[in-house]
């Protein structure tokens, strides 16, 4: 953990499409931003939930996929050189005299004049299989991510799932685990073909044990798993001895720590005004899917508009003595200089 505090004008919480476009609008008014997201890459819902599906209502783009839109936004904000902090969740927001202090679950600290909450539907969190009693094992012998590989050394490891996370961790943990068993409901995988091939090679050589089925029950004591019941595709069941289990069933959005920051909430959304998209607290803005106001539509285009108006007010806090003159990117040489096109 580091005690170094990163000082910056603005921290954007959430790197979804709206957080990304906020970088652009802030950049146009000379404000530099740091962006924090729990995901390992930008794009929020667009990249995580529907990277390959088409969006038809982003103005000017007849059709664009979730990933393409993310890539285009990343390209568009490049001139403003934002700093990204991925794989980190903002846990706390403290008010200081004239500034805010944000702390992430990795211990990183940020001091800023303006906070932009672009947290969408909340932070992406691993899905918990609805297995009876699973809570008691979580953090002790059931994990949803690998933070320290060492925790898996010389253990009987069970990985459940058929996507990239399940496959990647099977391959990464196989060399250090005592035994590695992969359980998946079918013999097809959604993962990268190369990893699937590698996994089957390791099954062939006897280093990974692959079993078809679905986990239906957990057995153990005091949070320590000893075995699980697996239901095979033909309906029969068997017991699989195991010390640690890693279920990978994708991610879902949970509001998370945003709820504990002392902001007004309305059914898990943050009410804002429609002039500046500022919360009940000066200097804290909420844009995109996380906010609510009369007539709110959870659309990407609405969030883009909100970003632009937010940036106008943010400018007043970051540069209290400067006056903003309204300009077009088409004709303003100063804006074009910032964009690196002049």
């Amino acid at each position: 953990m580091t005690e170094d505090v990163i000082k910056t004008d603005v921290v954007i919480i959430g790197g979804g499409p709206i957080g990304l476009f906020a970088v652009f609008e802030l950049g146009l008014v000379d404000i530099k931003a740091h962006v924090i997201d729990i995901l390992d890459r930008p794009g929020g819902q667009c990249a995580e939930l529907y990277p390959e599906k088409p969006i038809y209502d982003v103005p000017g783009l007849t059709v664009v996929t979730g990933q393409e839109l993310t890539d285009r936004l990343m390209e568009q904000i490049k001139p403003f050189n934002p700093t990204f902090h991925f794989n980190q969740r903002v846990e706390s927001l403290e008010r200081r005299d004239g500034s805010f202090l944000l702390t992430t679950d990795m211990g990183a600290k940020f001091e800023c004049k303006v906070v932009v909450i672009a947290a969408g539907g909340g932070s992406f969190t691993p899905k918990r299989p609805p297995l009876p009693g699973i809570e008691a094992y979580e953090g002790k012998s059931v994990f949803y991510s690998v933070r320290k590989m060492e925790n898996f050394r010389d253990r009987d490891v069970l990985i459940v799932g058929g996507g990239d996370s399940a496959l990647d961790w099977s391959l990464n943990l196989e060399p250090i685990a005592k035994s590695l068993t992969l359980v998946h409901r079918r013999s097809e995988f959604r993962a990268a073909p190369a990893s699937v091939q590698k996994m089957f090679d390791l099954v062939e050589s006897g280093n990974i044990s692959f079993k078809l089925g679905q986990v239906t029950e957990l057995h153990g004591e005091n949070g320590q798993l000893t075995s699980v019941t697996v239901k095979a595709p033909d309906g029969s069941t068997f017991e699989q001895p195991v010390e640690v289990m890693l279920p990978f069933f994708g991610l879902t959005m949970k509001l998370g720590p945003v709820a504990d920051w002392g902001l007004n909430l309305d059914e898990n959304l943050i009410p804002v005004d429609t002039e500046k998209f500022e919360t009940s607290e000066k200097g804290i803005f909420a844009i995109g899917d996380i906010n609510t106001y009369p007539g709110k539509l959870k659309l990407i285009l609405s969030g883009f508009h909100e970003s632009a108006l937010m940036a106008q007010q943010a400018h007043k806090y970051v540069y209290p003595d400067k006056k903003l003159v309204f300009q077009y990117t088409t004709s303003s040489t100063s804006l074009q200089k910032k964009l690196g096109v002049k």
Partner: protein
Amino acid sequence: MSPAAGSLDWKALQPANVMARITFIQKDGTERVVEAEPGMTVMEAAVKNSIPGIAAECGGACACATCHVYVEEAWRETTGQPEQMEEDMLDFAFDVRPASRLSCQIKVTEALDGLVVRIPEKQF
């Protein structure tokens, strides 16, 4: 523009949209029959009628697997097999069985009038 005098309004002559009746059976056995318009999905019919147990978090984009149902045996052929994308997404559902489908991927047609689906004990 009004149709030329004497011309027939073909639309008006066609029978009013035939509705398909769909039965949702909960884990505890309670049943509800709803009417669905051909063209909508079984998930939409459930959500529109507030059928419990169909969360449909992603709104039908085949991106969440929280609209999981079991199609009653007699209807499995008519509803068809899941496509690749749906099969992949079913990996994220709980207690997947041969009769499992994501209800947002079943389009209602007149042929599905009488369809029976069961709601799983748990969605993720």
